[in-house]
């Protein structure tokens, strides 16, 4: 079931479009913001709210990289694996995450803290290698800076 808050936010967002189905992606993003991921039930609920078929909503939900159809950790790490970051050695970042957290692309840590996903160019090519953690962008990274970011996430969760 979508919560009253979610429904209110979705109804407000879809006013910007000519018909309700056009707000499908907005609705999925709003539900995901509340639940961290989009379950089968959420797909059906969004479909019912917007007057769409579940398969129609599913086709959209599975197309976009940042709609999560599986549970993700409390923090999602998006490491850019496009060309400028490749030239500046993004592989060091993946290797370090594997070493420190045992985390490979597509995986979530056993404690549910971090999910690691490779991502298309983040438009931070002058600060390569770059990554995002949740909604924040970080550039010019090396192992030490990445460690500091991971520690900050852990501290925030403990607080």
């Amino acid at each position: 079931m979508l919560t009253p808050d979610e429904i209110r936010e979705i109804e407000a967002a879809i006013h910007s479009y000519e018909h309700r189905a056009a707000g499908c992606l907005e609705a999925l993003k709003i539900a995901q913001a509340h639940r961290r991921w989009v379950s089968d039930e959420t797909v059906r609920d969004v479909a019912a709210l917007l007057g769409m078929g579940p398969a129609e909503v599913e086709s959209v939900a599975t197309f976009y990289s940042l709609i999560f159809r599986q549970p993700v950790g409390r923090h999602v790490i998006l490491v850019c694996d496009s060309v400028s970051c490749w030239l500046l050695g993004y592989e060091r970042l993946f290797a370090h995450l594997d070493r420190r957290l045992g985390l490979k692309p597509g995986q979530t840590t056993a404690d549910g803290e971090f999910t690691l996903l490779p991502t298309a160019c983040l438009g931070a090519c002058d600060r390569a290698p770059a990554l995002m953690i949740d909604d924040e962008l970080y550039g010019n990274l090396d192992e030490a800076k990445l460690d500091a970011l991971l520690d900050a996430c852990r501290q925030k969760d403990r607080a």
Binding site: E18, L25, V83, L87, A120
Partner: protein, 427 residues
């Protein structure tokens, strides 16, 4: 120092111009002038005369695109305007600078474009990862509404325009004009058949003009200072200035606004400081991931649409990606091809099947398992996935770096196959 109408007002600390700061720098003067003293046709003519070409990659003349929008009483309404701020071309980070640094200039540009084409509703299609830009655009939109520059009957002119901020959910295909329109309608970002072109039947089946964010930022200076002034900014066939960028192993990667037609050498050596110590230039993609390699022999080529095309590539987004001698050309092309294979929307078969196949062959070559025949297979596929063979421009763009790498770095491919290893790997 030459004039820099897109970036001269940007603040050194990277914070955005407030409404008051933008207004003090001459902001919204062009909008005031257009609404008070120009008809939409006159505004359109100024943009046509300026010679402005789209800054998103394809370089289509902006005024010519607008002139195709239906006009008059019998035209289908509303006409939509969309700012394409889904900057996802690898190696490209120019629109971020404008969106984060001066969102009001893009909003004023949208107001001017909207007025010229008769649009009453507009969207800013922003990639969702640009969270800082989203907050700043949202703030700027609120300021523009509060000051009466957006909404109904703008400043008593009788012209009305609403702009909505739409954030995407991550997919390269959204940068393709018709894919973007499908995405705005809440669908998968697959491309649409053309014709009809979006300017006739686009968003929700209505006339729709899609312009790149940098293109829109050019409009306030053009309408304020005129077409002749704009043309005088450049010494090349293409008018105005361009935001050029450099990434890769150079001393100072970054962005610079320069007269259209600055040479590759000026951008790479004078602005980006040349290669990092100990690294030599081997090649560069002049305008993002989907452009052909150029080499050191092209350093004195002006970065304008025609000159780069004559050199065998495309200006694209004008943000170059530099290959140094410490990086493997096959590895770079493999990275690029994997990106395009992953981002292919799957709508048409050659792209959906062909790009993963190319990535597989390149992976084999890179890991030392390449066969002598592989190069011919790769070459054949650059034609099979080329212009006219696929539904949209994704695959033809994807094979541009590959086809030129096979020409310029052929020896490197052959060494991988003959030595059965990557010469750059330590293993």
């Amino acid at each position: 120092m030459s004039e820099r109408p897109l970036t001269e007002n940007l603040k050194a600390d990277g914070s955005p111009l407030s409404f008051a700061e933008y207004e003090a720098a001459g902001g919204y003067e062009a909008a005031a002038k257009a609404l008070a003293s120009l008809t939409p046709d006159e505004a359109l003519k100024t943009v046509q005369d300026s010679g402005l070409r789209g800054r998103g990659g394809a370089g289509f003349p902006t005024g010519a695109k607008w002139s195709l929008a239906p006009r008059g009483e019998r035209a289908v309404k509303p006409t939509y305007l969309v700012a394409n701020a889904d900057e996802m071309e690898p190696g490209t980070f120019k629109d971020r600078l404008l969106l984060e640094g001066n969102p009001h200039q893009i909003i004023e540009g949208m107001l001017l474009a909207g007025y010229a084409i008769g649009a009453t509703a507009a969207y800013i299609f922003l990639r969702v990862e640009y969270t800082r830009a989203a907050a700043r655009v949202r703030q700027a939109l609120a300021e523009a509404y509060a000051r009466g520059w957006l909404g109904a009957n703008i400043r008593g002119s009788g012209y009305s325009l609403d702009i909505h901020l739409h954030t995407s959910a991550g997919r390269y295909m959204c940068g393709e004009e018709t894919g973007l329109i499908n995405s705005l309608q809440g669908r998968r970002a697959t491309p649409r058949a053309k014709p009809p072109f979006p300017v006739v039947s686009g968003l929700f089946g209505k006339p729709t003009v899609v312009q790149n964010a940098e293109t829109l930022a050019n409009l306030p200076p053009i309408l304020r200072r005129g077409a002749d002034w704009y043309k005088s900014l450049s010494s090349s066939a293409d008018a105005g200035t361009k935001i050029y960028g450099v990434s890769g192993r150079v001393k100072k990667p970054g962005l610079w606004e320069l007269p259209m037609g600055a040479t590759i050498r000026e951008i790479l050596e004078d602005r980006a400081g040349g290669m990092q110590d100990g690294r030599k230039l081997r090649g560069l993609l002049p305008g993002g991931a989907s452009t052909d390699f150029l080499t050191p022999e092209h350093l004195d080529t002006p970065m304008d649409f025609n000159s780069i095309q004559r050199a065998g590539s495309r200006l694209g987004t004008g943000t170059m990606i530099v290959l140094d001698d410490g990086a493997c050309p096959v590895g770079m092309v493999l990275n690029l091809t994997r990106f395009f294979a992953r981002e292919s929307c799957g709508w048409c078969t050659p792209c959906r099947e062909g790009l993963p196949y190319l990535a597989q062959i390149l992976q084999a070559i890179e890991s030392g398992a390449g066969e002598p025949d592989d190069l011919a297979v790769l070459e054949e596929h650059t034609r099979l996935l080329g212009p006219g063979m696929t539904f949209c421009a994704l695959a033809p763009g994807a094979v541009e770096p590959l086809q030129s790498a096979l020409k310029y770095f052929r020896e490197d491919f052959e060494r991988h196959i003959n030595e059965k290893r990557c010469p750059w790997s330590n293993g």
